[in-house]
Symmetry: C2
Subunit: 109 residues, 2 copies
DNA sequence: CTCAGCTATTCAGTGTTGCTAGATACCAGT
DNA sequence: ACTGGTATCTAGCAACACTGAATAGCTGAG
């Protein structure tokens, strides 16, 4: 997609990844692949890894290193209590924004 | 609001302002005030002015300088054809993102 | 055995964006 | 003169996603 998506992802991509981790633990490569499947066709791998480092540093996830049979060891991330809390706040923020935009969309046409 | 909103606004604030201008022409101070009324309680004025400069430079709006009775002259911005096109693309992008997030929200709980 | 190709992670450098914190300017009322 | 509301602009900052690469383990083709 275009530059528009890129800019819109700022701030939401983090929530998206947390939401994915809320379903079940996952590692970077897997998350990227799942995102691509879901239509985010050109999210850069580097972006995801950087994001994972960030949320780990903030204590939103727990990490476990697990050997892979197909390559180097995987770093499996799982959402912890703090992460779940943060995710809920993310949803509230998102709802707020989505409501405002829906209003604008209707009012503006 | 918090840092979360700030990051989420990146990329969407532009669309929001364009959507406001789609309803009717407006100037910076007015746009800021309207946003505050609509719940974006702490969007910085400087942000809006910078954004307006940007979308003008990209040719999405037309500008007209109109004297004010209450202060310095106003720069009234109105959406032109190119801006309307861009706004439509913004809505498409937004819809894409909103759908994905709605899916995640349901699936993830 | 070597090389391509998939898996898996990391990192330095870049551009865009919104915020901070001011400065500037016009006008009315005290 | 001074305060306060109106109105715009700017330089410097922080956060984020992207680019483009490097590194590393494993498998199968040649």
């Amino acid at each position: 997609m275009g530059k528009q998506v890129t800019e819109m992802l700022k701030g939401t991509l983090e929530g998206i990844v947390l939401a994915i981790l809320a379903i079940r633990p996952a590692y970077g490569y897997e998350i990227t692949a799942r995102l691509r499947d879901q239509g985010f066709s050109d999210i850069a791998e580097g972006t995801i890894y950087a994001l994972l480092v960030r949320i780990e540093r903030r204590g939103l996830v727990d990490v476990e290193k697990i050997p892979s049979e197909k390559g180097p060891p995987r770093k499996v991330y799982s959402l912890n209590a703090q992460g779940r809390e943060y995710l809920e706040e993310f949803w509230r923020t998102w709802s707020f924004l989505a409501e405002r935009l829906e209003q604008l969309r209707e009012g503006g046409n």
